[in-house]
Structures are given as structure tokens and as C-alpha cells.
């Protein structure tokens, strides 16, 4: 069992959770994730990015958006509860270098996934520009953290309830149009957002990295369920990624594969909401 030491909502349905996992905390690098199970008997395995870690305390932090049964169950947990399983750190760490000017784009809970890499980019002496987007003010997360790690932060909301009104892609386009030299872009968020960012940077030849979120099981390269098409070849996101060159990724296939279990997932959420006690 992996005890939870802290749990706190950052936004509706988005919770920050600290877990005791000393081995993971010791090894983890930016860009890596864990696979967790809530419940020992029938729980499924879901991947979550390690947002932060404290090797001395032996804890890691995850930021979870409750989108379906398992993430909603995780978000019901409080300090003092425990997760049945936590395994990691999995995946290849982000490629961190002194690139020059790096733009980190986070959409929704993608900001939580982008945040640790933003920290590492800053530590590698990059000029870091953050663009954080959300549907509205309530859903915008990690503003203070991102402000502390970026040299320049742009907040975007779809409805204009906070920051500027508009999409993250519009802000990126604006920066490019204004002649800002951008050496590297990291974009993490919903698939359509990542695709749109890739479309913005491609004509300008700006190296763009995205973190892909295919459906995973083991996370060790054993099942091939997480395979994605990158540059016309098949890659396993859990061991070859999760970060890939955005201009090479087939986002259509990724989106299609992520829909594979929709009927099952919808049923699971319906059952959970009908009777949260028995789940």
C-alpha cells in the first residue's frame, strides 16, 4: 500500500495528491510518470505524471483530473488513505537542454504534466515563456507555480473569465508573429490542442515536443496497447515516450485509439455516480 500524505483540490475535479513512494521519489526525473491502482482486487492501472517529488521525504506528487471512474475514485481519497499500487518512474525523462527560448504550453490538466518540465527547463538556463489555458477561471491550475518558474506567463481562458480571452494556440501564433525567437516548444493538453500547436509551429520549423496520453496497461513495454504512430512507425509511448516530436505524430490515430473503450467507460461512471458507496 502507498499511503497518501496530502490531498487537496486545486480546481473542481482536479486534485493534488502526495504519496509515499520512496523508491520512485529517489529515481524520478521530469517528464516521467507512475501507474497506479486504487483498489487491489478489481482496480485498473492508470498512468499519471509525477508533478513533483521529494526524495528526502520519500514522496511524489500527482495532479489528477477526475474524468472517469478511476480518476474520480482517486480524487475521493484523502490524507491517511492509500493507493493499492504505485509503480514508476516510467517513461523516458524529458529532454532537457539549454535550448535558448522555450515556450511551455499547458492546456487544462496538461499544465500539471508540463509543469515539472518547465521547472527543469528553467533550471537549465532557458528563457521560459509559459502559456497556460483553461476553459474558465475556475479550471485554470498552477498559476502561482508556473509564474514562479517562467520568465513570462500568459494566461488564457476560452470564455475570458480570467487572463486573456482565447486559445493557447492564438497566443503562440501571436508570439511568433511578433517576432519572438522561439527555439523549442513543449505542448501538453487535450489531443486537439496539441495537434493545433503542432500546426502553428510546423511552418516555422520550430522543434515542438508533445506528451502523448494513449491508453496504457503495464507501462513497461509488455502489452503494446500504448502504441502510437510517429513518423510512420509504431512506438510504445510508455517506454519510447511519452514525449515525441509533434510534427511526426499521427494525432488522428491517437484520438481514435483513445476512444476504444468509451461504452465501457461511460457505463462505469454511470454506475459510480448511481452508487458511489459500493464502488
Amino acid at each position: 500500500m502507498f499511503p497518501i500524505t496530502e490531498a487537496k483540490f486545486l480546481a473542481p475535479d482536479v486534485k493534488r495528491i502526495c504519496i509515499e513512494a520512496p523508491r520512485v521519489a529517489r529515481q524520478r526525473q521530469a517528464g516521467q510518470f507512475v501507474i497506479v491502482r486504487v483498489e487491489a482486487e478489481h482496480g485498473e492501472r492508470v498512468p499519471l505524471t509525477i508533478a513533483d517529488s521529494d526524495p528526502d521525504a520519500g514522496t511524489i506528487t500527482i495532479i489528477v483530473q477526475g474524468v472517469g471512474k478511476t480518476t474520480k475514485l482517486i480524487n475521493m481519497l484523502e490524507a491517511g488513505d492509500a493507493l493499492a499500487d504505485v509503480v514508476g518512474p516510467l517513461g523516458e525523462p524529458s529532454e532537457i537542454e539549454h535550448f535558448g527560448t522555450v515556450v511551455v504550453v499547458g492546456g487544462g490538466v496538461g499544465t500539471a504534466i508540463a509543469y515539472p518540465t518547465a521547472v527543469a527547463m528553467k533550471a537549465a538556463d532557458n528563457h521560459v515563456i509559459g502559456i497556460v489555458g483553461a476553459r474558465n477561471k475556475e479550471l485554470l491550475i498552477l498559476e502561482d507555480e508556473m509564474r514562479a518558474t517562467t520568465d513570462e506567463l500568459h494566461l488564457m481562458t476560452d470564455d475570458g473569465s480570467y487572463g486573456e480571452q482565447g486559445f493557447v494556440t492564438q497566443k503562440l501564433q501571436q508570439l511568433i508573429d511578433n517576432g519572438v525567437t522561439i527555439d523549442h516548444v513543449l505542448a501538453i493538453g487535450p489531443i486537439p490542442m496539441m495537434k493545433a500547436i503542432a500546426d502553428v509551429t510546423k511552418p516555422h520549423g520550430i522543434k515542438t515536443i508533445v506528451s502523448l496520453n494513449p491508453i496504457m496497461v503495464d507501462g513497461t513495454g509488455m502489452c503494446g496497447g500504448c502504441r502510437v504512430q510517429v513518423g510512420g512507425t509504431s512506438k510504445f509511448a510508455c517506454v519510447d515516450g511519452p514525449e515525441f516530436d509533434a510534427h511526426e505524430v499521427d494525432f488522428t490515430i491517437l484520438a481514435q485509439r483513445n476512444r476504444m473503450y468509451r461504452p465501457h467507460e461511460q457505463q462505469a461512471v454511470a454506475d459510480l455516480e448511481a452508487d458511489p458507496e459500493t464502488q
Binding site: 478489481h42 485498473e44 509503480v87 518512474p89 513497461t220 513495454g221 488522428t252 490515430i253
Partner: protein, 476 residues
């Protein structure tokens, strides 16, 4: 207890068959197919053994189980003694009795197989192991005094488990590290419940816990902890790498990314380890198979397990698509036979060339090509070659690719000085199981390539012996 009949009489007794669940009924559930012998049938079968002076059966068994001796105990009604006799060479008899390819091993070598039918050694082995388990009186051997030496076992399949069991008895401090959340390797993630109930593996793991083996799940060596850390920081005096051959092979055909196309590893892991067959309770989904067409590509045990699982998940048609003929099929004979009885349809001498899908990205069909057999290849099996112009499209909703597995590189790629061959398998000395890195041993599928449970166990035991020697002498 029964007296031995004279040899003439013994040879008149036909081989006793294993009672099994009715084919139509079992094709709809995940309960075990074989029901087990009762003591009357077991005794009758035991009578058939000719107690050969030179028991070929034992030579045929990769770990040399003393078949003649244990069968003798069965005849005497001394089932616990029979079990103890098997345990001298084989620590997982309830497993091997169920899954060994006996026709190529002990039973294939049995003299009876020449003129009659071989003794049902696997069934008898299973019988005594199950008896032992039911009494709860598993004869756990005595543990030697603590040596103060620490050994890490990486991977909890049959190779890792048998190595751990032997080393703990020698008094070493043994920790098994497993990447998944359950202990057992292929025995829990691959082989389905209807062939090997998970409780059996759990029971064996419990026995080992009682003997003092420590188990750590959720540890991916190479990621969670590196070999350098195990040896230099965590104080392990020796490490045994038994990570199996778990890397799925795909066919690189067009359409392989379509929804509904699985590797056998994923399909079986979802169904077994993640219990997707228990739709009511499991949180892990499996793509809808009910009333649909499912085809499994391949002809080994994995393919049979996948296709029979698909049938049990409610498939309307469950096909095996195999590019050679039944004669070349590597699966255990009993599995092919069971699959047929259950209604699996065999498309032998067929090969997929393309998966077809719809606009939403779901599989709708497969283009198959007919094959014919040419002269034998390097493996001695006749080589399949495509028949020109024989392609046709078969409607299909779920495809499972079971054409084999390769070496997972996680440990090798993060361990300096650990050499691999051109296929990525770890190089280890055949006798000492030593790798090219000091203090590190390896065995099982990660050295041999995908093989069998009993060979992996044999490798684990050999490694235990060699590790013990190394720990005692300190010489590399």
C-alpha cells in the same frame, strides 16, 4: 492401497482420461476445463506404469522428476509422499502437471508410448499436487541457518520463483522484485484461469513466503531501481535476472493500429491479470467480443489461450489463423484438442496481409492469403509460401496477434557490462548461468527465448545452485 498387477494385466488397462467440463458449457465460463482425477482413477492409471529399470520418462523431463518413484507412492495411496518425491526436483507440481507439454517431455519419452499410450504423468502429477494442497500439509523443507547473504531476484515467473525457493532454503536472504502488481509472471498474466487457476499460483507464493522469501511488487528494475543501486547501494551480493520474454511482436501490417487489434500480451493481460472477464466487477475494459468475429494469428499456446478466451468472452466466431498446418503447431496437443471441442475454427495455411477498418478507426475485416508448404526450413519445419492470387477478405471485429514475443530491454539497457546476443537476450553460461557482469546471473525465457514453464524452472534451480556456490566461495 493396491498391489501391482502383473505386467500383462497392466498393459490391458487403457489410459485413463481426465474428466473435463462439458465443452459447450465450459466455452461460456472461465472455470477450469480439466476437473482432476479421483483417487480410483489415479490408482488405475498408476497401475499402468511398468516401473522400468531405466525410466525414460525421467530422462524426458527437463528437471528429471522421479516419475517411477512418485507413481509408486500413488499406487500405495501415499499421496503426500508422492508429492514430496516430486518436490525434490520440481517446486511447482500443481502448475507443471497442468501446463507442461508432456507429449514432448516425460510422456513422449515413456516406453508405453511406443506400443500403447503413454502413462498420464501430467495428470498424476497434478492429482498428487492438488491432494497435497487440499490437505494443507505441504511438506515445506527445513531452512538452513541464515548466511547473511542477500540475493535479489528480478522477475517472479517460474524461473525467479524456483530460484528464490532454493536459495531461501540455503539460508540466504532472498527478495523477489516484480514489475507488475502480482507475483507469478506468465502464470498470472498470460495463462488463463480455465487452464491454471490463479489460486494455485497464489498458494505456491504463500508457501514461499512462509519459507522466508520476501516479495516486492511494483518494482521495475532499470526504472524503479537500477542494477548498480541493487549491487552497490542496497547491498545485494548476487542478482538473478529472470525477466522473461515479454515484448510483444507485431506483424507490421497495414491497419495494425486499428481499434480492436491487440497483441496477445495485451489481450491476455486484460482478461487474466486485470480480470476483464469479470465484466461485473473489473474496472479494466476489454474491447467488445460478444456476438462478434474474433481471429487469433498464431499457433502456439498463447494463441490457443487467446482464442479460447475470446470464445468465453462471447465471440460468435473464434478463429485461429495459422500459416502452417496443424502438424507444425507448437501448442500443447491437449490445448488444440480442447479448442476444437469448444468450437474454435481453424484456418490453417492462412496468413493475414492487411487489417481493414472504418472511418472511426475500428477494425472491420482482415485480408487473408492462403499458404502452402514448401521444403523444410532451418527449424526443420516445412516453410509456408503464399499461394498467388488467393487473397480474400474476412469480416472481423477483433484481431489478436500471437506470433511470439521478444526480450524486453529494460534491464539490459540500464545495466552496464551485461551483454546480450543479437536478439537482445542476456548471454549467460549454460552451466553456471553467470552473465558477463560480476554477481549477476540470468535464466529462463530472458536467456533462452520464449520456452516453457518447466525449462524456466529448471534454469532457476540451476542458477540457485550456482549462486549458492558463488556466495559460499566468493569467487567469480
Amino acid at each position: 492401497m493396491a498391489d501391482r498387477l502383473p505386467p500383462k494385466e497392466r498393459m490391458k488397462i487403457p489410459r485413463q482420461s481426465m474428466p473435463e467440463q462439458d465443452a459447450e458449457q465450459r466455452a461460456c465460463n472461465f472455470e477450469e476445463v480439466n476437473l482432476g482425477l479421483d483417487s480410483a482413477i489415479a490408482e488405475k492409471e498408476a497401475q499402468r506404469c511398468l516401473t522400468c529399470a531405466d525410466p525414460k520418462c525421467s530422462h524426458g523431463c527437463p528437471v528429471g522428476v522421479q516419475v517411477r518413484e512418485f507413481v509408486d507412492f500413488v499406487l500405495e495411496g501415499e499421496y503426500l509422499k508422492a508429492a514430496a518425491k516430486i518436490r525434490e526436483d520440481n517446486v511447482l507440481p500443481a502448475v507443471t502437471g497442468r501446463v507442461c507439454p508432456q507429449e514432448n517431455q516425460c510422456e513422449g519419452a515413456c516406453v508405453l508410448s511406443k506400443r500403447f499410450t503413454s502413462l498420464a504423468i501430467g495428470h498424476l502429477e497434478r492429482f498428487v499436487a492438488d491432494y497435497e494442497r487440499a490437505t494443507g500439509q505441504v511438506g515445506l523443507p527445513q531452512r538452513a541457518p541464515a548466511t547473511g547473504k542477500k540475493v535479489a531476484i528480478v522477475g517472479s515467473g517460474p524461473a525467479g520463483l524456483s530460484c528464490a525457493g532454493d536459495l531461501v532454503l540455503k539460508g540466504h536472504d532472498v527478495t523477489v522484485m516484480e514489475a507488475l502488481h502480482e507475483i507469478g509472471g506468465v502464470l498470472v498474466y498470460g495463462i488463463p484461469e480455465f487452464r491454471l487457476p490463479k489460486d494455485i499460483v497464489k498458494g505456491e507464493v504463500e508457501n514461499m513466503r512462509k519459507m522466508g522469501v520476501k516479495f516486492e511488487t511494483n518494482v521495475v528494475v532499470g526504472k524503479t531501481v537500477t542494477m548498480d543501486q541493487l549491487q552497490n547501494e542496497e547491498g545485494f551480493d548476487a542478482v538473478f535476472v529472470a525477466t522473461g520474454a515479454g515484448l510483444p511482436k507485431f506483424m507490421n501490417l497495414p491497419g495494425e493500429h486499428l481499434g480492436g487489434v491487440y497483441s496477445a500480451n495485451e489481450f491476455l493481460t486484460r482478461v487474466n491479470l486485470m480480470k476483464a472477464y469479470d465484466r461485473e466487477h473489473s474496472d479494466s475494459p476489454i474491447y467488445e467480443c460478444r456476438d462478434r468475429n474474433v481471429a487469433v494469428m498464431g499457433g502456439g499456446n498463447t494463441a490457443m489461450d487467446a482464442v479460447r478466451s475470446a470464445l468465453r468472452l462471447g465471440a460468435k466466431n473464434a478463429y485461429i489463423v495459422y500459416r502452417r498446418s496443424e502438424e507444425e503447431m507448437p501448442a500443447r496437443a491437449e490445448e488444440v484438442h480442447h479448442a476444437k471441442d469448444e468450437g474454435v475454427q481453424f484456418l490453417n495455411l492462412h496468413n493475414p496481409v492487411e487489417f481493414l477498418g472504418n472511418d472511426e478507426g475500428y477494425l472491420t475485416g482482415v485480408k487473408l492469403q492462403k499458404m502452402e508448404l514448401a521444403e523444410p526450413d532451418d527449424s526443420g519445419r516445412r516453410r509456408p509460401v503464399p499461394v498467388e492470387g488467393s487473397e480474400f477478405v474476412m469480416p472481423l471485429d477483433v484481431a489478436v496477434i500471437a506470433i511470439g514475443t521478444g526480450a524486453n530491454p529494460l534491464v539490459q539497457s540500464t545495466t552496464p557490462g551485461l551483454n546480450t546476443n543479437k536478439w537482445g537476450y542476456i548471454i549467460a553460461d549454460e552451466e553456471s548461468m553467470r552473465t558477463t557482469r560480476e554477481g549477476v546471473f540470468a535464466g529462463g525465457d530472458i536467456v533462452s527465448g520464449a520456452a516453457t514453464v518447466i525449462l524456466a524452472m529448471g534454469a532457476g534451480r540451476k542458477a540457485a545452485k550456482s549462486i549458492h556456490e558463488y556466495l559460499t566461495t566468493g569467487e567469480w
